[in-house]
């Protein structure tokens, strides 16, 4: 077990290296340079001034050299300084040590996605199971339609409609951000409530879009499992249906879902870019969006590397989970 994990961990290193190499070249291939935002269409900017700026950012060197320099720093866990005008260290932007943990961008994005993931699983798994056990009933059809509608609706559009309904017309929930203006003056429970109120809409939007995939996988794998002989045996020996489904079928039906969860990390991070912008949430996705627009290479690379790392960790955790629930894999 330990040996296997160590092996998996070592395998991650070349994969991560490959991902950063490809990412680095791709973002440098995109037309435009970080100096564009500073100098484009600015009548006071001369070509000499541009050159000075490019030299300042180290963009005059060949791309291989740039990658080498970048890699050298990253190995020491230093993602460099942002190319944007504030010149702050990239790590400081993603994980600002001067702010409380709950205000740090990586934490915000991570927690939102974790919460969304938990909500998705809490809803998708029961929906999947019940649709499987009630296959072809009206309930199955309704849930199927609902989750597919959720899957098909563009999340930004749904977000705006919900904001209009709950924020403007009903005036129940705040529209954007993660806390109110008067947050600091609230008592502890008031703060918790304030946070919760701000989280409802974003979490709902992420979760609604993510239900379809998970619940459909759950349904199909459940359908497959309940046709297996051992389920028939369980029923034949007179076990109550509840026990047959949740004790015998459920565990085996869960296996494909675990892989799916591990693979969903990049999708969630990508989704963060969209909903963090709509809901005005100061997370990593919003930072990434601004970084891409400004061609802020160190920032983009840092977020991509962190994203890739989280994805690989997700895969690893999925594999470990797989081993825990499936003795067959453990034996290998």
């Amino acid at each position: 077990m330990v040996k296997y994990l160590a092996k998996r961990f070592i395998e991650m290193i070349p994969t991560l290296f490959g991902i950063t190499l490809i990412s680095f070249f791709i973002i440098h291939l995109a037309p435009g340079k970080p100096t564009d935002a500073l100098s484009e269409m600015n009548p006071k900017m001369t070509p000499e001034a541009r050159e000075r700026l490019e030299k300042y950012y180290g963009l005059d060197k060949p791309i291989m050299v740039q990658y080498g320099l970048w890699l050298k720093r990253v190995v020491q866990l230093d993602f460099g300084e942002s190319f944007s005008m504030d010149r702050r260290p990239v790590m400081q932007k993603i994980w600002d040590t001067k702010q409380p943990i709950a205000e740090r961008r990586l934490f915000i994005t991570f927690m939102l996605n974790l919460m969304a993931m938990i909500i998705i699983l809490l809803i998708a798994i029961p929906i999947g199971i019940s649709s499987a056990t009630h296959q072809h009933t009206l309930y199955d059809k309704i849930t199927t339609t609902t989750v597919f509608v959720g899957f098909a609706i563009p999340s930004f559009w749904l977000a705006l409609l919900l904001m209009m309904l709950f924020g403007v017309y009903l005036d129940w929930l705040p529209i954007s951000g993660l806390k109110s203006m008067n947050y600091d003056t609230l008592p502890f429970w008031g703060r918790m409530l304030d946070r919760a109120r701000h989280l409802i809409l974003p979490l709902f939007v992420i979760a609604f879009g993510g239900l379809a995939g998970n619940s459909r996988y759950m349904r199909s794998s459940m359908l497959e499992v309940i046709r297996q002989d051992y389920v028939t045996v369980a029923r034949a020996k007179g076990l109550p249906e509840q026990q047959v489904i949740y004790r015998h079928a459920f565990r085996n039906a869960l296996l494909p879902l675990i892989t799916l969860i591990g693979l969903s990390v990049p999708g969630l991070i990508g989704g963060s870019v969209i909903f963090e912008n709509i809901f005005g949430i100061a997370g990593m996705g919003q930072l990434f969006f601004n970084g891409v627009m400004a061609r802020d290479y160190p920032l983009i690379m840092a977020i991509l590397t962190i994203g890739a790392f989280l994805t690989l960790i997700g895969n690893l955790l999925a594999d470990i989970g797989y081993m825990l629930v499936d003795p067959r894999i453990r034996a290998q």
Binding site: A30, M41, K44, N277, G280
Partner: protein
């Protein structure tokens, strides 16, 4: 099944719970109250402005985004500034003298102005700012004006003198807030790395209280501001990256002020709610949108073809349809009712007959009867290129496409992401016509856009416009301080541009901010509304926010 119901139940419960306990800032005013209460300015309350982009750097010389300049503008002042009639007036400089030959400017600074940390502002601070901006190591996009300075000297504590090699008309206005920095805090430090950019000490009407990255920038009034403490205690910028979300926040009272789009201005805010609770303002923005022709392109080399296209486009229609009437048809590269603007130039009203005539003269005729003009066997087809993500420009291009089709010209529209657009098409001069906008500085000098020497890659005369008379006039306009002389030069330039049509000047859009009605003291002028922000106030009964002790 049961579990599914349970979780849905929990979710619903959560909804009801949170909906029940909403805590809301009480809004005391009624519609009638808001109209009636006026009276004397009083201190208190906060103005919350929505901003799409977050400021990046509060040192003005290092910032190039409008969000940063907007915030820094409340924290720093300059030696001079523009008055509401676009003349130049003193700010930190009480007065100044310009030598007869226009080469030496001597600023006499105000005495007794303090930085917010209590240290007095002196000529050394200006000198420090100047030395910093011309420093090789300072990555500032605004260096060029200061590199024209031959000599700068501190004559005494309150006198600062600069000497130029050649007379340079934009010289005076360059001594704004870009070069005023506290020497006592920054000397010997690397300003690109110092914490100052996120935690500045200024001397303007507001000072920075709190900056939560990606969320908000809170300013509080500087009680010792040399022109008197601002009435609004707080000025808060709330970062809302999505424009639709921002409008919803405006509706629910989350923000007090934002810039509206034309459709928001004319339709979405045309409701009793908005009329009662908000005031809208409208004035020409300092920018214009144009269709620029590549002067090297064989078809567009012919002046008659450019004129014909100008006749074939209906500017009024574009203003009405694209801007919902919120703009003015442009006739040249200046904003109407500003001193360099020449109202008496050739105007190209919509006249398709004349357009066809001119095209015929230039040899364009529909010989094969397919509805598209042709010459030497080639149909008249060209592409208008513009940047993606700007709906106004795309709509404008579409209308032009439709109008030009009527005079037998086939137009394709292509939109490209900004960075790609500039690098691959503008810089390489790979375009036939582009639809773009220019922001116009408050000074009339447009040397970089029209002078024939400015056509290299990355320079701004990317259409390769070249006219020796315009070159001479541009040179003349920036080398004299005499406003009448300058006016003559710029008037003539506009006549030539109108005759030669290197660009079709389409429209000057209006800026359309909206501000909550409880905020009083706003007086719109040619330079907008925010110039007198420290004088804005909220009458006591209407105040909403109190400063936390």
């Amino acid at each position: 099944m049961k579990k599914a119901l349970l979780s849905i139940g929990i979710l619903l419960f959560l909804f009801l719970l949170t909906a029940g306990c909403k805590q809301k800032v009480s809004i005391p005013e009624t519609t009638a109250g808001m109209q009636a209460v006026n009276g004397q300015p009083v201190f208190g309350d906060a103005l919350i402005e929505g901003t799409i982009g977050e400021p990046s750097n509060l040192i003005p010389m290092l910032a190039s985004d409008s969000a940063s300049h907007s915030v820094a503008g409340q924290i720093f002042n300059g030696l001079v500034k523009y008055d509401t009639d676009l003349s130049i007036t003193g700010d930190l400089a009480e007065s100044w003298d310009v030598s007869k030959d226009g080469l030496i400017i001597t600023f006499h600074l105000r005495k007794g102005v303090n930085w917010t940390d209590g240290v007095e502002f002196t000529a050394d601070d200006v000198m420090f700012g100047y030395k910093t901006i011309i420093d090789e190591k300072t990555p500032s996009a605004y260096k060029e004006d200061y590199l024209q300075v031959k000599k700068a000297e501190v004559l005494d504590r309150y006198t600062f003198r600069v000497t130029y090699g050649k007379p340079f008309a934009p010289a005076l206005t360059s001594w704004g807030s870009l070069v005023v920095l506290p020497r006592h805090l920054l000397e010997g430090k690397d300003i690109t790395k110092d914490d100052f950019a996120r935690n500045p000490v200024g001397l303007g009407p507001y000072k920075l209280a709190k900056w939560v990255s990606g969320q908000e920038v809170d300013l509080v009034s500087n009680k010792d501001y040399f022109k008197g403490r601002a009435y609004l205690d707080q000025y808060i910028y709330k970062v809302i990256p999505d424009a639709a979300t921002m409008f919803l926040e405006l509706k629910t009272g989350g923000i007090d002020m934002m810039g509206l789009t034309p459709i928001q201005y004319t339709k979405q805010t045309d409701t009793p709610f908005f009329k009662a609770n908000f005031r809208k303002y409208r004035y020409p923005a300092f920018q214009y949108t144009h269709l620029a022709f590549n002067q090297k392109h064989p078809w567009f080399k012919d002046k008659r073809v450019r004129q014909a296209i100008a006749y074939g486009v209906d500017k009024n229609e574009i203003v009405d349809v694209v801007l919902f009437g919120l703009g003015t048809p442009a006739t040249g590269p200046y904003v109407p009712n500003t001193w360099p603007y020449n109202p008496n130039v050739t105007k190209y009203g919509y006249n398709p007959e004349k357009a066809k005539e001119l095209l015929k003269e230039a040899g364009w005729q529909d010989t094969d009867g397919d509805g598209v003009l042709d010459k030497d066997g080639k149909p008249f087809e060209f592409t208008i290129l513009t940047n993606a993500g700007n709906a106004l420009r795309k709509n404008t291009a579409t209308i032009i496409q439709w109008r030009l089709r009527k005079i037998g010209i086939k137009v394709e529209i292509r939109t490209v992401e900004w960075s790609t657009f500039v690098n691959q098409f503008i810089d390489k001069k790979r375009f036939e016509a582009v639809l773009l906008g220019w922001s116009i500085g408050l000074d009339a000098d447009q040397y970089d856009i029209w002078h024939s020497s400015k056509t290299k890659e990355k320079e701004l005369n990317f259409i390769n416009y070249s006219n020796s008379e315009v070159d001479a006039l541009l040179e003349k306009g920036r080398r004299t301080f005499d406003i009448e002389e300058r006016k003559k030069a710029y008037f003539r330039i506009q006549e030539i541009l109108a005759e030669e049509v290197p660009y079709i000047f389409l429209y000057v859009p209006d800026a359309t901010p909206i501000v909550h009605a409880r905020i009083k003291g706003i007086k719109p002028t040619a330079i907008g509304i925010s110039y007198n922000l420290p004088k804005w106030y909220v009458p006591k009964p209407l105040q909403r926010h109190a400063l936390a002790p």
